[in-house]
């Protein structure tokens, strides 16, 4: 039995949560979020969390759970438009917020996980994002310096994983998850399917197991934020 496999989300978080911890969680909107690990983090009672999440979830689900219980001190995000409780706490001055352009956020996490402490980007030049950041000219164009991001615990959602921690992601549920897996001091993954070691074709592993310390199989509700359809499927031979 691999030492990486844990029974459930609460078990996987044991010994890792503390007040003032920094946490990354994957997902774009509600797509590809480690929903069981987020609920377990809430239940751990850890306070004053610095939360590095692209979005704030919706009221009452996903990352919204941690906002409701006021366990978050600071958010690092690119877009928080779907969460009213977030907006309320922020405008009331109860919550610190650091907006990052989405691509800058993704690259900061990628860099952090890759041991790169900083990099230059043209995103945000001439905007408030550049305030207080060093700049440098390359070929006559101005770039701003951004720093790499790491965290105490990264919570990741994958489609399939094995006991070695090798992972595959599905469709657009991949998003921030692979970079975050590299950026956690400890990375915990919840997967839809835990598969036997050897069942992956090594050519098609998205995240190699070295980045993963703990893994659980979990049943996800996978709520959809905006169900959008084009109507009923035409009956074959009808048109």
């Amino acid at each position: 039995m691999s030492k990486k496999i844990y029974e459930n989300a609460a078990h996987a978080l044991e010994g890792l949560t503390f007040d003032g911890m920094s946490v990354m969680a994957g997902g774009f909107g509600l797509c590809g979020i480690p929903e069981n690990l987020i609920a377990a983090l809430r239940d751990s009672g850890a306070q004053n969390i610095t939360a590095i999440f692209n979005n704030a979830g919706v009221d009452g689900f996903g990352l919204g759970l941690l906002l409701e219980t006021r366990q978050i001190k600071k958010m690092v995000s690119s877009y928080v438009g779907e969460n009213k409780e977030f907006e309320r706490q922020y405008l009331a001055g109860e919550l610190e917020l650091e907006f990052n352009p989405q691509g800058t956020m993704a690259e900061r996490i990628r860099a952090g996980g890759a041991g790169i402490p900083g990099f230059y980007t043209k995103t945000g030049v001439g905007t408030v994002i550049a305030d207080g950041k060093p700049t440098r000219e390359f070929d006559g164009e101005t770039y701003i310096m951004e720093t790499g991001l790491t965290c105490d615990v990264a919570l990741v959602k994958a489609w399939r994983g094995d006991a070695q921690g090798n992972l595959q992601f599905k469709d657009t549920a991949r998003n921030f998850n692979p970079m975050m897996a590299t950026a956690g001091e400890i990375t915990i993954v919840e997967v839809d399917e835990l598969v036997e070691v050897g069942s992956f074709n090594p050519n098609f592993i998205h995240t190699p197991g070295v980045f993963v310390q703990r893994i659980i199989q979990a049943k996800c509700e996978k709520r959809i934020e905006k169900v959008t359809t084009r109507g009923p499927r035409p009956i074959e031979g009808d048109a």
Partner: protein, 211 residues
């Protein structure tokens, strides 16, 4: 008569060229996908991690793992590929996307755009917009020419926090099309049916070139 949202989207779609990789923003830009001209093959990029975005699914066939950047359920095409957010913005920031069509709260006469926050009132965030305007080869805006109070959104300089500076090449509003020439000044290049230059003048704060 001023252009409707669909009219603006139809006009914006005329800017698509065969073989283009295109990122469409939320709102009117999303509608552009409905008006891609016949014979023009474009690949839509969704910054949450997909190239080759397909249409909305049929009823009951929604997949929670497959959404667009507006969080709507979508489908894949035979050409589609998926990737992570860092790769997605490598495409955007690295100049591999040909055209970005965005919505805006304000655009200024020197091509600045503001579309991500209203201090003290609305906190949503910039999402991928700052990366798009910094990296995509050509960026154009579709927006109403005036706000609900009737004030011009096409300004001398933006009053809201900027998304990017000097990055917008064309503005399509309900009144017409405004394109920047070599000197960097916007000029009126088309008018919506029945719209006069006087009306455009009255509703435009920006210093633009009138024919």
């Amino acid at each position: 008569m001023a252009w409707s949202r669909d009219d603006m989207a139809r006009r914006a779609a005329q800017e698509l060229k065969d073989g283009y990789y295109v990122n469409l923003g939320i709102g009117i830009p999303t509608l552009v996908a409905n008006y891609i001209p016949e014979g023009v093959d474009v690949t839509l990029q969704s910054e949450n991690g997909m190239l080759g975005m397909g249409p909305f699914p049929y009823d009951g066939e929604e997949d929670p793992d497959l959404i667009n950047a507006g969080k709507q359920t979508i489908t894949a095409l035979r050409r589609s590929s998926y990737f992570n957010s860092a790769d997605s913005f490598a495409m955007i920031r690295g100049g591999h996307i040909d055209l970005s069509i965005l919505g805006a709260m304000e655009v200024s006469e020197n091509g600045d755009i503001a579309n991500w926050m209203i201090p003290g009132k609305m906190v949503k965030g910039m999402g991928g917009a700052m990366d798009l305007v910094a990296g995509v080869k050509r960026c154009l805006v579709t927006m109403d020419h005036t706000n609900r109070a009737g004030a011009s959104k096409f300004l001398k300089s933006c009053s809201l926090p900027l998304t990017g500076k000097n990055c917008i090449a064309m503005v399509i509003t309900d009144l017409g099309v405004f394109e920047r020439d070599g000197s960097g000044q916007f000029r009126v290049s088309e008018l919506a049916p029945g719209i006069t230059l006087d009306e455009v003048r009255a509703k435009t704060e920006a210093d633009i070139d009138y024919p």
